[in-house]
Amino acid sequence: MSSAANPQSVRKVPTYCYNCVAGPDFMNVKVVDGVATEIEPNFAAEDIHPARGRVCVKAYGLVQKTYNPHRVLQPMKRTNPKKGRNEDPGFVPISWDEALDLVSAKLTSVRAKGLVDDSGLPRVAATFGHGGTPGMYMGSLPAFLAAWGPIDYSFGSGQGVKCVHSEHLYGEFWHRGFTVAADTPLARYVISIGSNVEASGGPCAVTRHAEARVRGYKRVQVEPHLSVTGACSAEWVPIRPKTDPAFMFALIHVLVCEQGLDKLDVPFLRDRSSSPYLVGPDGLYLRDAATAKPLLWDEKSGRAVPFDTEGAVPAVAGRFRVEGAISVDADDARQQFDVAEGVTAYTKLVEHMRKYTPEWAESICDVPAATIRRIANEYLENASIGETIEIDGQTLPLRPVAVTLGKSVNNGWGAFECCWARTLLATLVGALENPGGTLGTTVRLNRPHDNRLLSVKAGEDGFMAQYFNPTDKEHWVAKPTGRNIHRTLVPIVGNTAWSQALGPTQLAWMFQREVPEDWNMPMPTLPDVWFIYRTNPAISFWDTRTLVEEIAKFPFTVSFAYTLDETNWMADLLLPEATDLESLQMIKVGGTKFVEQFWEHRGVVLRQPAVEPQGDTRDFTWISTQLAKRTGLLEAYNNALNRGAGGGAPLKAENYDYSLDASKEHGVEEIWDAVCRASSASLSEGREVHDLEWFKEHGFYTVPMSKTEWYLSPTLEKQGLRYEMPYQERLLRIGRELGNRLHEHQMHWWDEQLSEYMALPEWHDVPGRWTQQIKNAGGKPEDFPLWLLATKSMQYHTGGNASIALMREVAQNVRGHTGVIMNAKTAKSLGIADGDRVEIRSHIGATYGDAVLAQGVRPDTLVILGQFDHWATPVAKDFGMPSLNTIAPMSMELTDATGSGSDIVRVAVRKVERKEAAV
């Protein structure tokens, strides 16, 4: 019999899983005689955690992750100086001392040379995996990074193209929504455009939507293939890829041109949006000559007044004669109007949308006009304008309709239009940031991260304050400070801790190869040292075969490694960390957070060693402390920890002090014990202090939070602010300024992107950009007649778990995990049968996989789940799975103004013999 049948000891260790952005989720690890055997929900958190203490399928792979025989279990040094896919790195084991000496010697020499190089770029770069999740496993490394100084986070591993990039930027701009979700528990009608929330929303989203289905909400899924989310929706609308803006424009048309203002939420439009602002003949706001404040038409006094005039009753619609107004254009160019016609922003919108009828959209989207019209009308009907709800004693509007957007809808060309349209659809019916409606989750470009309501401050023109990268002549960053030049090119991304990673990350890679002809900035350089952790850009970004060649050029790469993979194949040093179930860390939980984590609590949760670290792997906090010590940064590192860089609360505040002696080296447990005490003291406002031992037993600590904090609109109302909807005067102006700066430097390579800065978005042939790119690259568009899309797999999504055998086994129960999904009729016409080996070819290369025939996919579309095509990662390298990433080009033409690209590519498909497909 197994020893588990008669164990000497059985423990249940509370901890968390934060492998994907939808976390953290709570769980217990069952440990039998010192061996982790099972993952279980943590039922102690049932009433606190929005997913009732449950974790998704990925977490159940963590036992195998711990004992995976392919793990790197001791530091390794590269012995082959040549780097390349076909060069065996020749890793040999070394001691931690030797490894840390190697890396600290390198870092010390970098510091001696200067933290930035001659091009003004940081000499140290770091790339971490998806959506901040590596931070939940890297212990106190953030404190080391903070102590170090400038670090370039430019080299993305898929950021911008695999996330919902435009939503991050514009969502946060318009309503402090780094990601945007439906208020699912109250929603009655959700239009989900390409959002695969049932696969990528984690247990919280799955729980909420399951409840909503049983309650009887209607979700309409608009996407080219029948995803898991589509499957669980009431209706599937198989739209043509990348035509979503046209679909959404037609929805708006129905609302504003067919239904009209009377049917919309007039008070919301009047008081919470910029609908009443008057737009002058030059397309800019008419402003008060004295104060430069935008004007609106006061129905009470019958004249144009500044937007914040006390007692004014703004007209939402109409055209008015305005005297003595000015407009302010880019670079503060002012124009005076003696008399001008002022058109309300709302009326401008109505006139602008007139041409976008459902009939117009039908031919573009391949969706019947009647369907579009019906959906728009159902949306309006379900908005129940006028209804209210009481939450925690506060009466709020109830607008139970939402629009959500998914990856590929939400990045690259067309995404700006979709984000605008989505926010506008919510605004028109008063559902933006109100109960039941379309909600932001959290902020990352603004602060503080754990309470977005506090990020709302009054800014110019009656809107929220925004922290754009400057575009004025004096402050524009002409000399990039990072390799993806985010501060120079993307005003809206700002310059906070997350901004760099949300810049145009593919540009960092592209410019290593080639810069545009009229590039008039310092030439991009390679970083002297590159740190990578929980990331594998050689698989997860695009044009991966070329990317690997770029990665091979990096002079010194340090990988905090779990197994060998396609990126650390080029590393010089592998430092194995004690992973999920083996190490110690505390993080914040609660509040509101992506993807659909809406809590009624705030708190902290501990990740603790359920079992001893395998081999000679080390706790990340120990590694970080050693790095700090050996590079002479111990004091700065400790100070960063004292400020709260470790994740929990600052170690010192008004009513407590658990700060660490900055001059001393502290042990792992000592550091986290201080964080435990400080966090509990901070949360309880000094009432309760819990140490590490307490947390090891209880796992988490939370305090209640009102549900009203889920909604931003009450905060705007309190501060008398408006959403910057529908008219984008500010963006228009900033775009012009940016253009001026670039053109002053004789740079025109970003001109196409500048066209995205519009006051009211226009339809442009979004899908046509892909065929045009093929033409420009010398190919024939007709050779690539199909679309290839990538979609997410819950089993793998950002799990870093391609080498976990259990995931492979269970994932295969879900359609698409064995190859490429294609329409059965299309396949038949191409002589392809289910299971046949096929080649999927774009104009830059081919990827190979097995055909998975389905009816739930458009005939012109192929779909690949997840991202595979591994060649070094153990287990995964034998999958024989295709990957979109292998054949999607990185291209300036396909990069939008935010610097993102859409996860889609034009392809051809044909049946091949198995041996031909062996790459």
């Binding site: 209607k218 009431a234 086994e809 129960n813 359609r815 287990v875």
Partner: protein, 302 residues
């Protein structure tokens, strides 16, 4: 490490069973024939034929089948546990009959007493019947549990037994009348087998069955009729008509008829043995959506 690929679709509809391979099939193939042979040997013995060789052959066939199964089961050294469930399990009953077959058979051989020969025949027939009931009780395989499968499996066992008797007839039964009688008997049994086969196939098609089962069985329909039944029937007619090569015709007829039966049983136990698969009488309602019509993927006929 290579990881096997499983396509989700394969796991929804019926799929070919893979737990009983050629070894289990051999038990039905050889055991059925053996049991049938013992029954007809006993029958022939009533007319004074020396059936000792037939008894040996019948027992050998049953023994061979059981040995094959013994090699297939997961815990061969616990094989005797098979006797624990006589109340409902036809596998227990099949196994229970076997010792009686061998016991009476050995006694018949040793004593030459007609009673033991007859008992051997009866137990042989019971063995055939028990095997047919094993398949019939396996609800997981629609092609087996169909009510017309049981008589067919039993009939082919007896037809094969009679056919083997026909093979032996030229050597055991010198007089023409006896040979004609055997040939006629075999002919009748082949006729019954054909009727039951057609009836079975028709039943499966009209009531619905896994597509894989229908395909596998349909694939053998023509050849089974022509070569497994018609050809031996013609040869048996030759025997019945007492033509000069009657003896050879009987031998050939018997062998072909047995081969036909074996081919059918191998097909039934292996290639046509598709599982039930899964079906939904109602598709779930998602939110304010509608339910869809029920589905039963991978089923045909009906």
């Amino acid at each position: 490490m290579k990881t096997p690929k499983i396509r989700p679709g394969e796991r929804v509809g019926p799929r070919q069973q893979h737990n009983w391979d050629w070894r289990a099939a051999s038990n039905f193939i050889a055991g059925g024939t053996g049991g049938g042979l013992l029954a007809f040997a006993a029958f022939a013995s009533l007319w004074g034929a020396d059936v000792r060789a037939l008894l040996v052959a019948g027992m050998a066939l049953i023994g061979a089948g059981l040995t094959c199964v013994w090699f297939e089961i997961g815990k061969p050294w616990r094989a005797l546990n098979v006797y624990r469930h006589a109340a409902t399990s036809w596998m227990t009953r099949e196994a229970a009959v076997a010792p009686f077959v061998f016991g009476t058979g050995v006694l018949a051989l040793a004593t030459g007493l007609g009673l033991f020969v007859l008992l051997t025949g009866i137990f042989g027939a019971c063995f055939v019947y028990a095997q047919a009931r094993i398949l019939a009780a396996d609800k997981g395989i629609p092609a087996w549990r169909h009510r017309r499968c049981l008589p067919l499996v039993a009939a082919t066992g007896f037809a094969e037994g009679a056919s083997l008797l026909a093979v032996a007839t030229p050597f055991l039964i010198p007089h023409v009348a006896g040979q004609i009688a055997v040939a006629t008997g075999a002919l009748v049994l082949l006729f019954v087998r054909v009727l039951l086969w057609r009836n079975y196939l028709r039943g499966l098609r009209s009531e619905g069955a896994p597509v894989g089962s229908l395909r596998a069985l349909s694939a053998i329909d023509g050849p089974f009729l022509k070569y497994g039944n018609l050809l031996p029937a013609v040869l048996l007619m030759v025997g019945v008509l007492g033509t000069p090569l009657a003896g050879a015709a009987l031998v050939l007829a018997g062998l072909v008829a047995v081969a036909g039966g074996w081919w059918f049983k191998y097909t039934l136990v292996r290639r046509a043995a598709f599982t039930q698969g899964f079906a939904l009488p109602h598709l779930p309602v998602r939110g304010r959506g509608t339910s869809g019509a029920g589905v039963k993927p991978g089923w045909g006929g009906a």
